[in-house]
Amino acid sequence: MDIVNLGVGILFDGVAYGMVLYVIAVGLSVTMGLLGIANLAHGVFAMAGGYVALSLMNNAGAPFWVALVASFVAVALFSIVLERLLYRHLYDAGELEQTLLSIGLIFVATAVAHFVFGPLPQRVDIPHAISGQLTFFGETFPTYRAFLIVVGFVLFVGLWLGLDRTMIGARIRAAVDNRSMAQCLGIDTNLLFMLVFAFGSGLAALGGSLGADIIAIAPGYAMEQLVYFLIVVAVGGLGTIRGPFVAALLLGLGDTACKMLVPQFGAFFVYAAVLVVLLLKPAGLFGKA
């Protein structure tokens, strides 16, 4: 019975963790596929979202839902400023410049977070509506994690439909496949890029604030979580919506299993698995080679 409990626990926590990773990293995958920008500072947006939401809740007493929306909007707007000021100049620059700029942003954001909020992780109070336990088939599950799983799935379906069935989705796909051809057809790719960048950053903020109880909001966030976000994007493969979803699920499950079963090895087996996957499929599970 214990083994069953452990298995169910890993499955449940792993999927919830995977959903948080997905919500954060999907924006990175889309901006990478669309803009070709290696924005390593993506985690900064997630961290900023977490700080905005938690300070609104802890200090201003704002309701959870309001805080979520506010973090999305604030970070999306802030990312537009950064896009216009910095990233825009790097669309045609080399990988090195993009890497350096994003590392510089991570450093500055880490220092600012440290200065404003202090070195400790932020306190998280899960609202009443989604705290407590759910009982299914004689097993109890934390409601908060079930909520994360639902949100992740809804977002996945929404993004899929949005990209597959709407006009703006078709425009984005066209710009990913062939930017200059899309421009010739009258698509304002500049505006499109800006909107996609803002939306991706907003999603990261949403993921950061939703998952604050799983990935603690602290100054080192952007640097420590970076490799996980990159794994989701690289293993999933660029330019797809389901790629990062599957990769995030696998990573969430694998990481949770490692931490519960062989904690003494840290995330060793996760990294080893990532190396093997990319040795076999260098473009990721769903990427076009």
Binding site: M32, A38, L40, L86, H89, L90, A93, G94, E95, L96, E97, T99, L100, L101, I103, G104, L105, I106, F107, V108, A109, T110, A111, V112, H114, F115, M223, L226, V227, L230, I231, V233, A234, L238, Q264, F265, G266, A267, F268, Y271, A272, V274, L275, L278, L279, P282, A283, G284
Partner: protein, 338 residues
């Protein structure tokens, strides 16, 4: 045939040692006599120069952007350190063993990493570092784990020179190793092999089209860079007589990247300029306030990307061009030598 003669003449001219290239070595000699109390810090700087130089082969010359170079530094450091605590403490053979070990790890991991590009390549470099860090942390009976590898005792160098408390022998030892490594790098980069690396950086498709085995060359230089990083790590382990888990961290990979870019990547001497600036600034600023250090470091990186992509040496170029415009060729000669 005139074209060929001209090409050979240019190659010979670039291969010839220019006077300014002696400057770093004169400074190193001068430091030994004039600043004896700073020799331990200067030894750290030498190690960092060597480490950044190894990254320059890969990043500056070949154009492979990686955030995992610390992995090989760490492998070298731990190899030299573990050998030293398990009764193989002769320094020079330990140094060589560590270099070879880091080269082997570089060859194996490079084979996987170099099949990818962009974001995936960056991630794999980080993953290799984190994987090795997890291993080093787990096998703490061998590596000392989070406490670091302690108790490294170095016997006298060449059986004669005791490693002293003031770091004199360590400093000379590190400087000689750096000098030899620099000779190798310089020779390698000026040889046709080195020029083909620049070709790969500028246009890999064209290089492949004219018959250069691009992937193999990349793997070779990846292995060489890893081995040299291991040499730097080993040198650090032997002169500090301590190895910490930090030598296998993402932060160190980031640091060496910053050092190189600060000086100027792809210029052979970028490492020689970036390392002292970074290390001295860190030594004076970071102790009082590490948070502000990170803040300024970030701003400097953003500044480099937005305004001076060539680092300090790039700024020197710019200055030289402007001098040339204003005062004619003679005034610009000093700048040209760089």
């Amino acid at each position: 045939m005139q074209g060929r003669a001209h090409t050979l003449a240019v190659m010979r001219a670039t291969r010839r040692l220019r006077v300014i290239e002696l400057l770093p070595w004169l400074i190193l000699i001068g430091t030994y006599f004039l600043l004896p109390s700073y020799l331990p810090l200067a030894t750290q700087i030498i190690v960092m120069i060597l480490f950044a130089l190894s990254l320059d082969l890969l990043l500056g010359y070949t154009g492979v952007v990686t955030l995992g170079h610390a992995a090989y530094y760490g492998v070298g450091a731990y190899t030299a350190g573990i050998l030293a605590v398990s009764h193989w403490s002769e320094p020079i053979s330990g140094l060589l063993a560590a270099t070879v070990m880091a080269g082997i790890v570089g060859l194996v991991t490079g084979y996987i990493i170099l099949r990818t590009k962009g974001l995936t390549l960056l991630m794999l470099g980080m993953a290799v570092t984190l994987l090795l860090e997890a291993l080093a942390n787990h096998f703490n009976s061998i590596t000392g784990g989070a406490d670091g590898l302690q108790g490294i005792m170095m016997p006298p160098l060449l059986g004669r020179f005791e490693f002293d408390l003031y770091g004199k022998v360590g400093y000379v030892y590190a400087a000689v190793v750096l000098f030899l490594a620099w000779l190798v790098c310089r020779r390698l980069l000026l040889a046709p092999f080195g020029r083909s690396l620049v070709g790969i950086r500028e246009n890999p498709l064209r290089m492949a089209a004219i018959g250069v085995p691009v992937s193999r060359r990349k793997l070779i230089i990846f292995t060489v860079a890893a081995a040299l990083a291991g040499l730097a790590g080993a040198l650090s382990a032997q002169t500090n007589q301590f190895v910490s888990l930090n030598s296998l961290s993402f932060e160190l990979s980031g640091t060496v990247l910053v050092v190189l870019v600060l000086g100027g990547a792809g210029r052979l001497y970028g490492a020689f300029i970036g390392a002292p600036i970074y290390m001295i600034a860190q030594d004076t600023l970071a102790k009082s306030s590490p948070t502000f250090w990170l803040f300024w470091l970030g701003l400097i990186l953003i500044g480099i990307v937005m305004f001076s992509r060539g680092g300090v040496l790039g700024l020197v170029d710019l200055l030289q061009r402007q001098l040339k415009e204003r005062f004619g060729r003679n005034a610009a000669k000093i700048g040209e030598a760089l």
